[in-house]
């Protein structure tokens, strides 16, 4: 009979303790983010898809040496440039990344000697169409400069 009441009182007390725990959380601010409206700022070293680095004028640092294209094990980078009249250097005219086959190995970033490539912090990548993952990085750079 003694156990009967001890069980009753300890049980009731533990229930009250539990309710106090949740009540303390009730008035506090939410810890979640409303995703489409706000999102977490990704940490600096996150390895998203690659992107081009521009100089102060917004022109890409890339000199079209093709090292990245050659080092890519999946063959997902294709770039082309041309030499304008009277210029010694080549100018980048197109940089296409096929992200569907990219494995984010980073060989392209490693092989770049001109500080022209880096990993982006982009992680909100979801689509129902395959074509959305074939990215024109030169266009992306221009949009970033705006």
């Amino acid at each position: 009979m003694g156990g009967y009441f001890t069980e009753l009182f300890t049980g009731a007390w533990s229930l009250l303790e539990g309710m106090w725990v949740t009540l303390k959380e009730f008035p506090r601010k939410p810890v979640t983010l409303s995703y489409p409206h706000e999102s977490v700022k990704m940490c600096r070293r996150f390895r998203g898809h690659i992107e081009l680095i521009g100089d102060e004028e917004g022109k890409p640092n890339c000199v079209v040496c093709m090292m990245c294209q050659r080092s890519c094990p999946s063959g997902c980078i294709s770039l082309h440039g041309e030499k304008p009249e009277g210029s010694k250097k080549k100018v980048l005219t197109g940089y296409i990344l096929d992200f569907t086959t990219c494995s984010l190995c980073g060989s392209c970033v490693e092989s770049c000697n001109f500080n022209a490539l880096q990993f982006s912090n982009e992680y909100n990548l979801a689509s129902t169409r395959k074509e959305d993952f074939v990215m024109d990085l030169l266009k992306r750079l221009e949009e970033q400069q705006k």
Partner: protein, 338 residues
Amino acid sequence: MSLTLFNILIAVIIAISFVGLNAAYLVWCERKGAGFYQRRPGPMENGPWGLLQPPIDGVKLMTKQLLIPGGVDKAIFMVAPVLAMFPALVSFVTIPFSETIVAHPINVGVLMIFASAALGGMSLLVAGWGSRNKYSMISSVRAVSQTVAYEIPLLITTITVVMISGSLNLNDIVERQLGGIWNWNIWPFQEAVGYNLLMPVSFLILFVCAVAETNRAPFDLGEAESELVAGFHTEYSSMGFGLFFMGEYANIVIGSCLITILFLGGWSCPIGDIGTFPFTDNVGWFLLKIYMIIFVFIWIRWTFPRTTIYGLLNLSWKYLIPISLFNLLLTAGLLKVF
């Protein structure tokens, strides 16, 4: 109040809209409450603070197809959701929101409410039986054993209060408690309750039984979704499901009304006769009390995990029934002495 057809129609319309509005917006409160207890914002997208969510959900439910699966007992299958909603509506007839605002004060109001509450248990049984689904069947067996187990202490505790006020009329029960917070049935130190020290305990018993009777967490064994899909309403779609849902929330409102009337003084002002609630004829106090109780319901739901069926039945048969029986005898004795 004369009982003309017009009066009845108005009363019915008010009751149905009150039930509908409560069912819709209690879902919103529930989701908001769940959000706050789990440190989330809850529904936010539709309208300010997500206030347009309930009507949108309602429209969505209504536009869905009302599917009747093959092999079900058609008549029973279609009667069950109505049977879940109807008793809840009927119970509102006799609940006094204030001294004058009551659809029809019946001399046996308490009895009527419990009769329709029992009919609510019936609807779960019928729904589970008619669905031709093993999960629904198990669920209804559970729900009925739960309803039966918890109706006993609920009724015994109510009899205690009925003995104190000497009437089955809900208006009389509240009128006994008028005049301030110290006159409420929950407090033991008054002559009218015979200085019965167990009055707060019987309030707790009634509260636990009300949570269990309305099939709410942590006593929602009937629709334990991790074991029984969705329990008795597994096979219901569209407004069939909607009626079960509304009935459930209407039952919550009735449960909290009953607790308020039996123990917390109904429409009476907590600080004596000085305060009539602004704008309304003391209905405000009543609504304030029931919504505070509903807040505790929500609080409990989002705090505790679901119990086991053994724990549930043990609580009722080993604790609630003996204690409420003892309290009944004690109250009878004390009322005789004082």
